[in-house]
């Protein structure tokens, strides 16, 4: 039914909207910085096998616990492995885990929220009470239990975190859907005989994209933190995987003698999470017309 309203004028308006958003993003120096940082981390992750100075699993017991030097800028660990190389490969695991967690959570939570908000009544009550129950747990604690029960591995810890996160998206999507439902275009779609399912997935879902994208971007940072936390506790990635949280856990026991071991992986978790949070913040401002007008753009 979109053809009913779509003309060349709308296309142009949409194009102008996208340009405005791009302008908003690039104008904010913090958002721009975050994009550059994320670009660098993604580059590092993709090209790790070619740009890392040493092989990721290659050990050399004669060089264990070497402090940072020109040969090993981040030092070496207990097996003499180059920490810089492992941090580069670690970017792959952390980004992958972050994206997977957010994608799974959105895929479960978003449609459920749209259904709850659109159908209302008993369906809404049941869905929302279930989300309440999940949200009653401190999410890391519940994730910890699930990861433990599934057995410690990177994949299981990702599943565990996703299980505790989807309710946030359900809440978000439900609130938006409930207000969209009252709007004229939904009424119009119903008037021309579109089915409920069609309205939900073709008209309401696309209109709840913006807040979901903002939330998902910020959550990428939090997901990377959560994943690193579970790995730190021994419930995520297992040795010898070059996971950042696991590396910090390895460095913990030698923190007084080999400070570099835990320090450098942590810096990368920190700047990656911060970049996602900054980007999410910038996106929210760019996508929210209310905030935009106040800033006088």
């Amino acid at each position: 039914m979109t053809t009913l309203f779509k003309g060349s004028g709308e296309k142009e308006a949409r194009f102008r909207e996208i340009r405005l958003i791009m302008y908003q993003i690039t104008r904010n120096p913090l958002t721009l910085t975050s994009l550059i940082i994320l670009g660098a981390v993604v580059f590092m992750a993709i090209f790790a096998p070619w740009i890392s100075p040493y092989p990721v699993y290659g050990y050399n017991l004669e060089e264990k616990y070497e402090p940072p030097s020109l040969e090993h800028p981040f030092g070496t660990d207990y097996l003499g492995r180059d920490i810089l190389s492992r941090v580069m490969f670690g970017a792959r695991l952390s980004l992958l885990a972050g994206v997977a967690i957010v994608v799974i959570s959105v895929a479960i939570g978003w449609p459920l929220g749209v259904i709850a908000g659109y159908r209302g009544g008993i369906i809404e009550d049941v869905i929302m009470r279930i989300t309440d129950m999940f949200l009653a747990f401190p999410s890391l604690v519940l994730a910890l239990v699930i990861a433990f029960l599934l057995g410690p591995s990177l994949i299981n810890s990702m599943i565990a975190i996703s299980v505790t996160w989807w309710p946030w998206y359900t809440r978000l999507a439900r609130a938006d859907t409930a207000s969209l439902k009252q709007r004229a275009f939904v009424e119009a779609s119903r008037a021309v005989g579109l089915s409920d399912l069609g309205i939900m997935f073709r008209h309401i879902l696309p209109n709840t994209v913006a807040p979901i994208i903002v939330q998902a971007t910020m959550d990428l940072g939090t997901a990377i933190l959560a994943e690193a936390g579970l790995s730190f506790l021994g419930l995520g990635a297992q040795a010898p995987e070059p996971e950042w949280g696991l590396m910090i856990s390895g460095g913990r026991s030698v923190i007084l003698s080999a400070w570099w071991y835990a320090t450098f992986p942590g810096i990368f978790i920190f700047i990656t999470a911060a970049a996602f949070n900054l980007l999410g913040d910038g996106l929210r401002e760019a996508l929210d017309p209310r905030l935009r007008r106040i800033r006088g753009a």
């Binding site: 009470r129 910890l144 239990v145 433990f148 730190f232 506790l233 419930l235 007084l256 913040d281």
Partner: protein, 340 residues
Amino acid sequence: MGSLKRYVVKRLLQTLVILIGISAITFFLSRVAPSDPAALWVGLHARAEQIEKARKELGLDKPLHIQYLIYMRDLIGGRWGTSYRTRRPVIEDIINYLPASMELAIAGQIIASLVGIPLGVIAASKKDKKIDHASRLFGILTVSIPSFWIALMLQIFFSRTLGLLPLEGRLSSNVARMNPIERVTGFYLVDSLLTGNFVAFPDALLHIILPALALASYSMGLSLRMTRSTMIEVLREKYIVTARAFGIPENTIKFRYALKNAIIPTLTVLGIVFGWSLTGVFLVEVVFNWPGLGTYTWRAILAVDYPVIVAVSIIAALIIVIINLILDLTQVYLDPRVRL
């Protein structure tokens, strides 16, 4: 007052539903464990008939809904199982370790609120000025720091490099030996004062600084961001605009009118932040060898100690639910509009 009573009853019923939900989730989790609970119970080298006998004893041969009722009965009766590792009832262990965690979480919460809430108010009232951008950046950076990592960094800097603060633990070993703290509440800072143990008090205080700081890093940013956004909402209200139009001084508006109305949503902020502190405790305690629920849970993970892990999740959820209930009821008490 009739509507207030109705609200409280409604809220209590809601809490009950959530508690039943929590128990259902944990029941489900403890039954889908990849290994057979009966086999775990009897140990590694059990024979098939022993496992069968254990299955009967544990009620695992009964239908699922009966199993759930038995589970609920034990849950309410405080029979939360025995730890495989410590061989003590889990509930006893939890009561032992919980005060240490609560003390740490509260200390972290105090630091976080003292920094985060005032910064949030300042940022909101100077919206879009330099100080607002700076404090927002600060807020974003603090929520991006892995708590277990900042814990290690604090150890390196304040313990190793400066030698100012103790590396780990809750009390120095010589103080614990010579001037042990008598247990009253389980909170060392409170108990040492109550029993007049003025050797242990400063020692306990020094020990809690670093873990509390590590714990506060995340909550600080969270409370800053949430206070800022609630304060901005309040400052946008019509009565603020009216007050301005009447020429009432800006400071009177901000601190007398706006802050008073921002306090109620800030209570909700505190609840959410405390939830996070409680989560952070699980990571920070491990780094500082803090003898609380986090370290207890971590040891249970390493020892594959099922009853402990499940029990800890129940107690954590229980604490969050109770705190939210208290905060909600306080809110009703403070804000007559919510009662309607």
